[in-house]
């Protein structure tokens, strides 16, 4: 797994759940109301199943989840992947 794979999979997953045709990697998907209330936990399960990283209490920081790029950075840190 490298950071490009993380980005591709994360983009695809988020893209399936936002109510807009295109999404910028830095846009705050929660603040803009692009997702519903179920999505937060779907995102957690996605990270855990797809990347094998356990999301825990101390990871509950909006900076980790607010956008596709934020999520990719979070997963990369969890997996110990080198930053781009």
């Amino acid at each position: 797994m490298n950071i490009d794979e993380v980005t591709l999979k994360t983009s695809d997953f988020v893209g399936q759940h936002v109510n807009t045709a295109e999404i910028d990697g830095d846009v705050d998907i929660f603040a803009t109301g692009m997702v519903n209330s179920l999505f937060a936990m779907q995102l957690v399960l996605f990270v855990e199943k797809e990347f094998g990283a356990v999301v825990e209490n101390e990871d509950l920081d909006l900076e980790n989840f607010k956008s596709i790029n934020a999520l990719c950075n979070f997963v990369s840190r969890k997996l110990g992947l080198a930053a781009r």
Binding site: G15, E22, G25, N36, A40, F46
Partner: protein
């Protein structure tokens, strides 16, 4: 989709069925009339490991797999929807702790929940806040190294007897979740009676007036109380209720088959009347469809697949609709007998109505299911067109 039960699951189902048939169903109507649930039944469920069944074994729970847990909810739900709701809210509190508790919180609370030393209740709904749960009016402030909570919670299942409440409140406008013990000064509960259904679920209003709790009783982080803590709990709740509705539907069907096989009108059994057969055929088909959705939700849950949340929502929405349809048909088949308290089908109908409201009303489920469908449709169209989904 492989829905074969393992030998262990078949054995467990027989055990659950026996418990429900011997110790729950025969008394459910009486408990419904008295609007109470004896603690002896709760203790029996604890002794059998049912209350702690979904809690991981490392914390003293049963570590039960999702499908077996679903089978337990089905059997309890078919015998007493009120008892199912008590089992559900306990599991919701445990689920929130499993997922978002710190190591210390998990080590402290989960073994106690598994052993039934503490019994959980989920305190989200308020007099002014139902479906709009992200906007609770309850508040919490840090005061002298403690959290000070002021909250009025309504329709709290098992609120009369629970000893640990998962309470949702706003901290400076952000949602947060707190673990509040019954003994906390300032906490009081007020029994709710006269409900249409769930009459023995020991429902209560829960009041917290300047209730101070230790700082370590914050569960999850501030700002994540609704989206993640309640989200994890409600996912568990919808799953339990979906299976419970399946049990309720099955109970209505079984009661109808029994009644139609023994009741004679116009010289023949009801089962030989074509219009009764029409009702029964639809009941059988709808129960089967509901069962398939529950099994699908179980398999995805076992896999930890992100789609388990939406599939659980779909299962809850459909099974609750089936439960009330079947209960109404069961009453129809029973005629005036079905409208009396001589047969359990009138209780099934009253309880089924509440199933369409708890853990998210059918209308809220419909919105989420439909939006998800449109999102999937747009994604599929985008993939066919070969367009990228993200602007980098």
């Amino acid at each position: 989709m492989n829905i074969d039960l393992s030998e262990a699951q078949r054995h467990a189902r027989l055990e659950f069925r026996d418990f429900a048939a011997q110790l729950v169903a025969p008394y459910a109507d009486e408990h419904d009339r008295r609007q109470e649930m004896p603690m002896t039944i709760i203790k029996e469920m604890v002794a059998r490991g049912y209350q702690g069944a979904p809690i991981p074994s490392e914390f003293g729970g049963g570590g039960m797999d999702a499908l077996t847990w679903g089978l337990l909810c089905e059997e309890i739900g078919g015998a007493s929807a009120s008892l199912l709701s008590i089992l559900t809210v306990h599991a919701m509190v445990a689920q929130a702790l499993c997922k978002w508790g710190t190591d210390d919180q998990r080590r402290h609370w989960l073994p106690r929940l598994a052993a039934g030393e503490v019994l959980g209740a989920f305190a989200l709904t308020e007099p002014n806040i139902g479906s709009d749960a992200g906007n609770v009016e309850s508040t919490a402030v840090l005061d002298g190294g403690q959290w000070r909570l002021n909250a009025d919670k309504r329709w709290i299942s098992f609120g009369q007897a629970a000893t640990l409440f998962l309470v949702f409140a706003k901290v400076e406008g952000k949602a947060a979740a707190f673990l509040v013990e019954r003994g906390c000064q300032g906490l009081s509960t007020e029994p709710i009676t006269g409900m249409l259904g769930f009459r023995s679920a020991m429902m209560a209003d829960v009041h917290l007036k300047d209730c101070c709790i230790p700082v370590e009783n914050l569960l999850g982080r501030i700002g994540f109380g609704f989206s993640h803590v309640a989200g994890a709990a409600l996912d568990q709740g919808r799953y339990c209720i979906a299976w419970g509705c399946l049990g309720l539907a099955q109970a209505g069907l079984t009661a109808s088959l029994d009644y139609a096989s023994t009741r004679r009108q116009f010289g023949v059994f009801l089962k030989d009347h074509a219009l009764i057969q029409e009702l029964v055929a639809d009941m059988i088909t709808q129960t089967g469809a509901a069962r398939m959705l529950c099994y699908r939700a179980a398999i995805l849950r076992q896999q930890g697949d992100p789609s388990m949340i939406m599939e659980g929502t779909i299962a809850k929405y459909f099974t609750s609709r089936v439960a009330i349809k079947l209960a109404a048909d069961a009453v129809q088949i029973h005629g005036a007998n079905g409208c009396s308290d001589r047969y359990p089908v009138s209780r099934y109908l009253r309880d089924a109505k509440l199933m369409e409201l708890i853990e998210g009303s059918s209308q809220m489920q419909q919105i989420m299911i439909a939006n998800n469908g449109f999102n999937e449709h747009r994604m599929n169209a985008r993939l066919k067109g070969g367009n990228g989904s993200v602007k980098k």
